[in-house]
Amino acid sequence: MMDHDALLSPFERMLETVAAPAAVRAVEAGGDTDAMWDAVAGSGFLDALVAEAAGGFGLPVAAVQPLWQALGRHAVPLPVGETMIARALLADAGAPLPDGPVALAVAAPGQTVVVPLGLVARHVLVEQDGRLALVAADGAEATGVACSLAARMRWDRLDGMLPAPAGGLRALAAVLRAALIAGAADRLVAMTAAYANERAQFGKPIGRQQALQQNLAVMAEEAVAARIASQLGCAGAWPPSLAAAATAKSVASRAATRVAATAHAVHGAIGISVEHDLHLFTRRLHEWRLADGSESWWNRQLGAQRLTSGAGSVDYVRAELAAPA
């Protein structure tokens, strides 16, 4: 297996080139996505999780987690991580791999759901009643939320279905969301610390005010916790265990709102303006927190499982949530 950094650096360089803030804004304004998508697809990373026998890299998800974080750090406005997951699932089932971006959704027949990046997807991999179907992303309806690329979508009963992964598609998507949150949170910590050192009030940079320092320190703690939780989500089996997915998404979702709040508090009014890049990241933190189960949803799943165990708390997390030796 390749060294993780050896994977990350070219991926990150590619994103810096094709997904700079101006390019992200252009896609959010309804612009063309082909150039950005072609660059990502051309890098070969879309098949990072696809088994080697099926022509992919066959990487463990722990090696892909830094790539997902990089997608969050650059607010990439295309479902790149989702497509990686979808292609691996389809390849495992021996199904043909589609061209173009694939979004993920869990929806009962006739139920309308919000699909992140649904407006820029060509296909959606839908889990319905425990089975998967790949469908064209037709009938994507804008949510009416400014700048958002999420879509409201619904499907009647789908046919031609594959078995869903153990634990369900939502757990896989949740682990991806946690990594995206960790990446965007990291970017916001760096942006906010830099701004606090630049912006002067009362004759000195606001970053010298103890009140702000205390808040920024907590913000960094939350961002690091989100990263470690996301790594836990990707450390073990794939598909992830319930405990791994729940921990990743619960901790990251909780961090998302706190990190976004402090980023805005420190930036002041400029951070609310559309010209400033801050919202590219804070809007996504909120959207990802709401996608694929919030902290409370995952806390209930994890709590229910925990209560069936007679183990002490330390033994429980040691068995369920640890990096494999």
């Binding site: 320190a217 703690e221 405990a243 209930r300 007679g310």
Partner: protein, 383 residues
Amino acid sequence: MFDTLTLAALPAEDEALRPAIRALAAEAVAARGDAARARSWAGFDAAFSRRLGEAGFLGLTLPRRYGGGERGPFARFVVVEELLAVGTPVAAHWIADRQSAPLILRFGTEAQRDDYLPRICRGEIFFCIGMSEPGSGSDLASVRTRAERTESGWRVNGQKIWTSNAMHSDYMIALLRTSGTSEDRHGGLSQLIIDLKAPGVTVRPIADLAGDAHFAEVFFEDVDLPADALIGHEGEGWKQVTAELAFERSGPERIYSSVVLLDAWVRHLQAMGREDSATVALVGDFTARLGTLRAMSIACTARLALGESPVVEASLVKDLGTSFEQELPIAIGDDLAAHPDEPVDAELYRTLLYVTHVAPSFSLRGGTREILRGIIARGMGLR
């Protein structure tokens, strides 16, 4: 930011220590109720510490020639985790094992190492740390207790306060002023090993709000010490003290202080067959955060194992960990009292209130929350 803090695994050879230490821990707490177990690193049991020493679990990271286990920080993590997870009374050897022995190894003379380290490893001598004074808390550089050179060594005058376990300890490693005044700040401070049985030392326990007396004030009146009471270099006390902070701030003790209560509450929920969604979500929230904090503590241990001193990262783990430890009794109290018609066992109630009342100390001991956040802010490039 702080990218070096990344998921790490406990090596198999260190995990292999678990069964033996687990058996000793289980034996130590067999007769102790939850409220006693919740005292954990404030619980004093000299016989238990000696048993740990005999079994080779003290001074794990010290070289064999001093009686140590010659293992790394991961081994110590496993042992400490097992001891704290069930609330064993570790106070007797706690400071000697965690801080004093590594300090003596690093800064002591060969004679000092030979004198103290084997006895620490056997669990025969216990240490406390003399830092705070009536006028010096977070601002430690302002300490005024002085040690002056005499013909035969040192003479100490002054007072320490809030010294955990001073009344049960054989020695104190004290941060003292050996030259200059508190105006000189970090300059002129040195560390001395004070034999607490020396004439002129008076130790007076201080009762705490939980009905215990785990800390004390210590008075020094013309206490004469030999020349080799000085540990490390004269005037370098501040540097020596701060060098060890990463060891003291990132361990399992910054995560598990309320874990005996957490387990008692979970057993209560199981006995009551509780399934209400607010409670179940709370259990899940605690589980997710405990698992994440543990991974963060192991990540910090991995930096220590590489020989680094991750002071900022350790501060980050300690602040998050102690916030978690403090939130537990508040949320568990709310959950229990949100079910007023449900019987709560007397031991669970006592444990809840004990942890509730001592929890404020979790973010005081070993560096206050505000000081830690200042360190993190500096690590972020602020100031």
